[in-house]
Symmetry: C2
Subunit: 229 residues, 2 copies
DNA sequence: ATATAGTGTGTAATTTTTACACTAAGTAAT
DNA sequence: ATTACTTAGTGTAAAAATTACACACTATAT
């Protein structure tokens, strides 16, 4: 049962917590392992860092292989390197979180061979995870909770045009608590980084809400002042 | 000139930004390298992670070898892994910051052979640093700037008993700006994690200030509520 | 006794945060 | 056309937090 993989002498890998938002739930992408150890378990997608890749490049590649998408927003957040975290040798792994809007169709073409399949699972109902991936996930969620209060990362989970209610929903899911509608709007608008569009939401069976867009230029200008939600 | 070190095929190291406060200035510990590459340059202390060490253990060891002290407060904050950051091969390094009070005498017994000497240098006047160590330092400072607003890390830079003025001084140095004395005191006392002692400062040629102690128990109790400076 | 240097304290003005509920607009069904 | 339904969109008052600001006190040194 104990087999030593040749490359597992001292390996450096990257694992990604890829958060996706489909308009209703916050989910993460997990893969079902096809190999020992932890065969048939759910795990965070990850891979070995290539010899000529930077760390960010490597994380990008992993996300690309997983979703077929480039340019996903992501950020490194913690290294996990307990000597026993991998049963077959020393594997130090660097965790990234990434954020993506779901509901398109192109996403999700998992390809690598070590995975049977990949699935978006709601964070409210996650299975047991392989290795120390639960710890990695926990820390990742903690990280975006903190980050969303200061950085405009919520927009990464939304389509380019979104309503204030959708935006609030994202905040509520990540922070794990309800927010007051009026106060939320007051505050988020006061930052001055949202551009109100002339367009309205479409295809809803009730009053359509105004659409907004995140104004990157404006944000860049105000950048000295950090947002503080 | 280009020599390939045998172990530099794919190496994982740790570098530490060790901040020290002597009551007046904020300094970091730098070593003067005795080896190529960057011989005679100043660099952050660092070392290779041992095969059976956890990452934190490894950082502890490095700090111990450098200072002779155990139990220094430290925290991992970022991994630097550009393929070209080390001229002789792929070295991925994990950065830690650490905080220590200076003015004792036991500190500083640098021993490793790759360093000529180690020195505390004020952060206001740092030399050019080897490798990408400037970037690592910058990010470390940024990190503690952020962290000091939410976590009680300032106390790590002070003796167990300290005055409010000393505490304010630490905040000012790290945040890089002057703070209002009355407002600072009001706020810091309102957190309820400082214990006022019956003792006064000694050996000053002016009115002696009251000494305080950081009340860890109390902080642990209030921990749910995060401090927000 | 006097000069010196840092300690320790209060208040008013301003800004930010919080709590809270109803009308307006559009769609769907009849 | 009316009605029922669902979400959008809005204001205000109270409370809390933040800011700006100056002087008398105390200990020591000479």
């Amino acid at each position: 049962m104990e087999q030593i993989l040749p490359h597992l002498d001292s390996v450096f890998s990257i694992d990604c917590v890829l958060f996706g938002f489909d308009g209703k739930e916050l989910k993460i992408l997990l893969i079902e392992r096809n190999e020992e150890p932890f065969k048939d378990w759910w795990a965070l997608p990850g891979n070995i860092v290539g010899p000529d890749e930077s760390l960010d490049q490597s994380a990008s590649r992993i996300l690309y292989e997983l979703t077929g998408l480039r340019g996903i927003y992501m950020e490194q957040y913690y290294a996990f390197g307990d000597p026993n975290r991998h049963p077959q040798g020393r594997v130090i792994t660097l965790a990234y979180y990434a954020l993506i809007r779901l509901g398109g169709d192109k996403e999700l073409r998992p390809i690598s061979t070590y995975a049977k399949r990949a699935n978006w699972l709601p964070i409210t109902d996650l299975p047991k995870l392989a290795f120390d991936h639960q710890k990695i996930y926990d820390k990742g969620l903690e990280k975006i909770k903190r980050r969303i209060k200061h950085q405009p990362i919520a927009f990464e989970l939304l389509p380019e045009k979104f309503t204030l209610t959708q935006l609030q929903h994202v905040y509520e899911l990540i922070l794990g608590k309800k927010l007051d509608k009026r106060n939320f709007r007051k505050k988020i608008v006061s930052f001055g980084v949202l551009k109100e569009l002339d367009e309205k939401q479409k295809g809803v069976s009730y009053r359509a809400a105004t659409l907004y867009r995140f104004d990157k230029r404006r944000y860049a200008k105000l950048f000295g002042k950090e947002i503080s939600f």
